[in-house]
Symmetry: C2
Subunit: 216 residues, 2 copies
């Protein structure tokens, strides 16, 4: 049994839900409410599982049950344990290109814009909401511009030709976040077209934040 | 021939140098000066190679020469193309734990503290140097605390038992950064001990910022 600790609106958890769905894996969800009562992720119960206090976290009971943190580590793990269908290309250079684009988002956009950082900007640095939104949009724009150029390699289909995979599992949650913060996406036609292709698929629809049991 | 575009003090480039050395791979370095003249990474020549404008970047001419961005994508690529000696454990759960600890640093510490973010804090948000240093140390402390707990699994040796690997390639550059910004590291005895073990090894000494041709 696979158990995913997450939060409906966490885009890192959203990536893992997409990867699980693309592989057709059944999983149990345990919601960790990131906002209520100061954040369940800071509580003793969750800290015992993940001292970093972030979601998502995967527990694979059939493999010893050691908790695995970090969305990309979880996705690589799923690819190794459940290799079919693959979500990374087979060729090492192509795999590297997909990972690089995913890391553009997972390292250089998302961590700058997640909840704890926005909280720090407001509470510790006295940054007002307008400047926080400008910060958010600045990093989204920088990351998406690089991904938009990178997508030129994939034509009008998906990162795996006829199927989406690792790249799309990282991209679509970032687009969700960008829309949530009213980022202007007109400059990224390839990203918008790929997002529309993905959003038509069940694996993505079932992984969407609003479709989760803890959505509010 | 492997060519690494980097910068002596970029801790992401430093990670890749360690990985290359651990695998005993020869490589050519091309320095990209991140500060001089507003930053060479923003110039046309480098942008053509990497539109994201960050270092490091690897070019492997024997494999078609397509540039590979993002330090962790490069390290995974090296592990796939040059599997011996391995720098990840063989067991999928252990691989996932190493990747998760590396991502704690590569996603949740480093991107918050790199040059472009510190520049944004100062230029756009008017944050003074004292508050920038507090910001820097805050994210270092959060990340290293999680890694310190994670290191309990590795005892008094290395992540691969008798040898360091992927985990140490990501950790030691972060410790270098933390020291550069005078972060207090007393709370992380496992990290300090592992760092000392690594710093005694040639692969790490030759990868250190001060040992690079472009060091100033």
């Amino acid at each position: 049994m696979l158990t995913l600790y997450g939060y409906w609106r966490s885009s890192a958890a959203y990536r893992v839900r997409i990867a699980l769905n693309l592989k057709g894996l059944a999983y149990r969800q345990v919601p960790v409410h990131l906002v209520r009562d100061g954040g369940e992720q800071h509580g003793e119960a969750y800290q015992a599982l993940n001292p970093q206090g972030l979601v998502p976290l995967l527990v694979d009971e059939e493999n010893g049950g050691a908790p695995i943190a970090q969305s990309l580590a979880i996705i690589e793990y799923l690819e190794e344990i459940f290799p079919v269908p693959a979500i990374l290309p087979a060729d090492p250079v192509e795999r590297a290109q997909v990972r690089a684009l995913a890391l553009h988002l997972a390292c250089d956009v998302h961590p700058l814009n997640n909840l704890r950082v926005l909280q720090y900007l407001g509470r510790e640095l006295g940054v007002d909401d307008a400047a926080k939104n400008a910060w958010y949009r600045h990093w989204v724009a920088a990351g998406l511009a690089a991904v938009e150029q990178g997508l030129a390699a994939y034509g009008d289909t998906f990162s795996l030709g006829t199927r989406p995979g690792y790249l799309e599992a990282c991209l679509i949650p970032q687009v969700y976040n960008a829309r949530r913060f009213d980022c202007d996406l007109d400059a990224y036609p390839r990203i918008l077209a790929l997002t529309a292709r993905c959003e038509a698929l069940e694996a993505f629809r079932h992984a969407a934040p609003d479709a989760q049991p803890d959505a509010q």
